[in-house]
């Protein structure tokens, strides 16, 4: 008979490995760079702040990858969003709340078009979102070719600089100048974590969320079981573009500017985060919590390289590459083992 105690399936095992890896990596960083402030809570919070936009992107990417698709347009969407906000404030004189709303609407429309092409016309997601990538990057330059810094919207500036300090002074420390500091996060981090929570609950507890897994597990079966596969697919891409726009706003709050080359390759970071977090490229298996840890691992690598001080940033790419290979091989092994069990 079947082993009923088999609670750790490959799905959450990959997640566990990711979490363990992150913890080990972080503890390693703390041990090696204790003198450079790596042990401070603020260092960890900085990782969150730096990657708030990426966390939103990775959440959306996870949903799309769970359906078995991919969305490589999100990095360019972020750039376009930043440019719309920057130019909107500085050149058109719009208020930032209206612009943020506009950016979200643009994200929805963008996702609708991409999702419709993929779900209803059955065009390869890679091709469609590649077109989307070029289009968004192109539009960024069409809006403005120069770098535009955001300086003249007090609300947006305030939002960007707003510190949310840790309650009860948790993790307080004294900086080099001897001034006591209370660790803080920015608004973008709160937004990003809310996005992760929302997507997590959505994937686990709503019909739409479960349908995403069904579509990724076996599209034909999902159809035959009476699910509207096209609609689910469409919605996943709309969600991805929408979350990319939220990510774009978070990103813009960090950079406070719009440039044409901004967020280049951010979609790849989102994909690698999802993969490292245990999402299978073939769809059906994965978890947004894993993707969050994927982002944290990527962020920690960058932070470690940065803290070392002597290494060029390219080393972060190499470590990411090695990790990515490790996880893909691991996933392949799981799939093989599963097949063997079946046969």
């Amino acid at each position: 008979m079947k082993n009923k105690k088999l609670k750790i399936n490959s799905n959450n095992l990959l997640l566990i490995i990711t979490v363990v890896l992150f913890v080990l990596m972080y503890i390693g960083g703390c041990v090696v760079y204790a003198d450079k402030g790596f042990t401070r809570l603020q260092t960890f919070l900085f990782i969150l702040i730096d990657n708030a936009g990426l966390i939103c992107l990775a959440s959306g990417m996870t949903c799309v990858m769970l359906t078995g698709g991919i969305d490589i347009s999100v990095g360019s969407v972020v750039a376009m969003d930043c440019m719309i906000i920057a130019v909107g404030i500085e050149r058109w004189g719009w208020g930032s709340p209206a612009l943020m709303l506009l950016v979200l609407v643009v994200g929805l429309v963008f996702g609708l078009v991409q999702g419709w092409l993929i779900a209803y016309l059955k065009i390869q997601p890679f091709i469609v979102t590649m077109a989307g990538m070029f289009f968004a990057r192109g539009m960024t330059a069409v809006i403005c070719t120069e770098q535009v810094s955001i300086t003249s919207d007090p609300f947006f500036t305030k939002l960007s600089g707003f510190k949310i300090e840790m309650p009860f002074g948790i993790g307080a420390y004294v900086n080099k100048k001897g001034i006591p500091q209370i660790p803080y996060v920015r608004v973008s981090v709160i937004v990003a974590l809310l996005v992760v929570l929302a997507v997590f609950l959505m994937l686990r507890y709503t019909r739409f969320g479960r349908s995403i897994y069904a579509v990724g597990g076996n599209q034909q079966s999902a159809t035959l079981m009476g699910l509207d596969v096209k609609k689910v697919t469409l919605k996943a891409y709309v969600l991805s573009s929408f979350l990319a726009s939220i990510g774009g706003i978070c990103y813009c709050l960090n950079t406070m500017s719009g440039t044409t080359t901004q967020a280049t390759g951010l979609e790849m970071s989102a994909i690698s985060s999802a993969v490292i977090g245990g999402t299978l490229l073939t769809g059906g298996v994965g978890n947004v919590a894993g993707s969050l840890f994927g982002v944290l691992i990527n962020g920690t690598i960058s932070k470690l390289v940065q803290t070392h001080g002597q290494l060029i940033g390219a080393w972060a790419n190499i470590v990411t590459a090695v990790l990515l290979c490790f996880f893909i091989v691991l996933q392949a092994v799981f799939v093989k083992v599963k097949e063997r069990k079946k046969a």
């Binding site: 008979m1 079947k2 009923k4 088999l6 399936n9 799905n11 609950l201 507890y205 709503t206 019909r207 969320g209 479960r210 349908s211 897994y213 069904a214 990724g216 597990g217 076996n218 034909q220 079966s221 999902a222 159809t223 035959l224 079981m225 009476g226 699910l227 059906g284 298996v285 599963k338 079946k342």
Partner: protein, 507 residues
């Protein structure tokens, strides 16, 4: 609608581009009845099922379901399910990455007050359903942790729980072992008692007589008849499927057959098999002998040949070619051992449409030599011309693209391709299907001529007469298993039919 009838289909017509897939087909199913839908591959079983479930759009005809006024047309599978028609397919159509409970309820999960999925209630409902059906399954486990048979049961459980009046089982047993099949049958009988009408699509004759009440036979997209099991003993069923009237079968005795059993062996297969395709079999083929493989379409004829040739690698057994034990890993190994295979699906596996007749002819020869030893053009032309003449291939020039040729001539080109490699052993899978009588006769003559030259052949055809004319010996296949052989003196239409229908036949 007559009482107790749960489903009627009347005059269903459906055309695929260029093919009349269903022509005026009727189908009737009663409450608490298990009805087998029989027919050879391509007879229209699946098409009919798909018309019923809304996957295919039929052009004419009506479908009536008990309890619904007027004829129904299902937009899609979901629509059919809502009207009480559920289907369990051959391939388990569930999601392996979801839990058993989710597979049972996805799309109709119990919800909480705020509209989220109530996982606890869903699991409880699923567990209850499993208990009702006597299945020992932990519903929170992922589906992929269970065997195919159990997955199939779960698929059926899903269908049953949707209060289906009509349950369609599309070849559910093809990947199950005997024990699992008996489990499935137990469940089917249980559902029959509950009044569910079951359509059982299968090509396993034994199973039909084990579990079914009625049989509907299709052939070439038309209805042959609707029978009760008692009316249609095995041999008559086979005759109906193959389009022969059993009572009229003349005992045509082929003439001039040679007994080749004293010639040296070319092929000696012992226990060769490939799980799920062909059960282990023994087969000897002598030099200069034509062995026919007979059986219904889908009985494992092609599969047997493919295992010998290495197109499907044998998982068990040994093969001796010309007295030497060999290990064929791929078709190229087989070719180097002097074997050739003419596949039955020449469009998909045989011709390369955008290459010329000449290129198609020298293809296998070139493959055998390897790509670095190019055959000189003069030689290619010589070979091509030789076979075009020998097989009287009707083509404008030797450089004409093969896709411009007629089916029969394409077939000859592929035959030429293998003859050019000068094989000692050649498998011809349905070489005469879909070609005109004249060419058919030419190919039959050629087969006999090749055998006279000392080559060994496997000849596969759905036409019994043709087999009787060309073969020295027949191997009979049923349900993926070689079940016997017929020697020259046992070979007659009637004998072949009986052999195909199998032992225990009451006719």
């Amino acid at each position: 609608m007559e009482k107790n009838i749960v489903l009627t289909m009347r005059g269903i017509c459906m055309t695929f581009p260029g093919v009349k897939a269903l022509d005026n087909v009727d189908f009737t199913l009663r409450k608490g009845e298990i009805r087998a839908l029989m027919g050879e591959n391509g007879a229209g079983k699946s098409t009919l099922i798909k018309c019923l479930t809304g996957v295919n759009k039929f052009e004419a005809g009506e479908i009536h379901v008990d309890g619904i006024e007027g004829p129904i047309v299902n937009k899609d599978t979901l629509d059919a399910q809502k009207k009480g028609i559920s289907t369990v397919y051959q391939e388990v159509n569930l999601c392996p990455n979801l839990s058993v409970a989710e597979n049972l309820y996805i799309g109709r999960e119990p919800l909480t007050k705020i509209g989220t999925v109530n996982r606890r209630k869903m699991n409880e409902m699923a567990a209850q359903l499993m208990r009702d059906l006597d299945l020992d399954i932990e519903v929170t486990q992922n589906l992929e942790n269970y065997s195919l048979a159990l997955q199939q049961m779960i698929a059926i459980a899903r269908a049953v729980d949707m209060k289906s009046k009509v349950l369609i089982l599309d070849e559910p047993t093809s990947s199950l072992d005997d024990h699992e099949v008996s489990l499935l049958f137990k469940m089917m009988r249980r559902l029959r008692e509950q009044g569910v009408g079951i359509v059982f699509v299968t090509h396993f004759l034994e199973q039909v007589y084990e579990v079914c009440d009625g049989i509907t036979v299709l052939r070439n997209g038309t209805l042959v008849g609707e029978y009760t099991v008692e009316e249609l003993p095995r041999v008559k069923l086979v005759a109906a499927m193959m389009g022969k009237d059993f009572d009229d079968l003349a005992s045509i005795k082929p003439e001039g057959e040679k007994d080749m059993s004293h010639a040296p062996l070319e092929i000696e297969a012992k226990g060769l098999g490939h799980a799920g395709k062909i059960k282990p079999f023994n087969l000897d083929i002598h030099k200069g002998e034509v062995v026919g493989l007979t059986g219904l379409l889908g009985s494992g004829r092609s599969e047997l040949a493919r295992v010998i040739y290495g197109a499907d690698r044998a998982q068990s057994g040994t093969l001796k070619v010309d007295g030497k034990e060999v290990n064929i890993k791929s078709p190229l190994d087989a070719m180097n051992l002097g074997m050739g295979l003419l596949p039955d699906d020449r469009k998909a596996e045989g011709i390369i449409g955008d290459l010329s007749v000449r290129e198609n002819i020298i293809l296998a020869m070139q493959a055998k030599l390897g790509i670095f030893k190019r055959i000189p053009m003069a030689k290619q032309i010589e070979i091509a011309d030789q076979y075009i003449e020998m097989l009287s291939i009707k083509t404008a020039t030797r450089e004409t693209l093969i896709k411009q040729l007629s089916g029969g001539n394409q077939q000859k080109v592929i035959l030429a391709r293998w003859l050019a490699t000068n094989p000692d052993f050649l498998v011809l899978d349905e070489p005469t299907r879909g070609i005109d009588i004249g060419t058919k006769t030419e190919i039959q003559k050629l087969v006999i001529k090749l055998a006279d030259e000392g080559k060994s052949l496997i000849f596969i055809s759905s036409e019994v007469e043709e087999m009787l004319r060309t073969c020295n010996r027949l191997a009979v296949l049923r349900d993926g298993e070689k079940v016997g052989e017929l020697n020259a003196d046992e070979m007659s239409q009637e004998g072949v039919m009986k052999a195909i229908a199998g032992g225990g036949a009451n006719g």
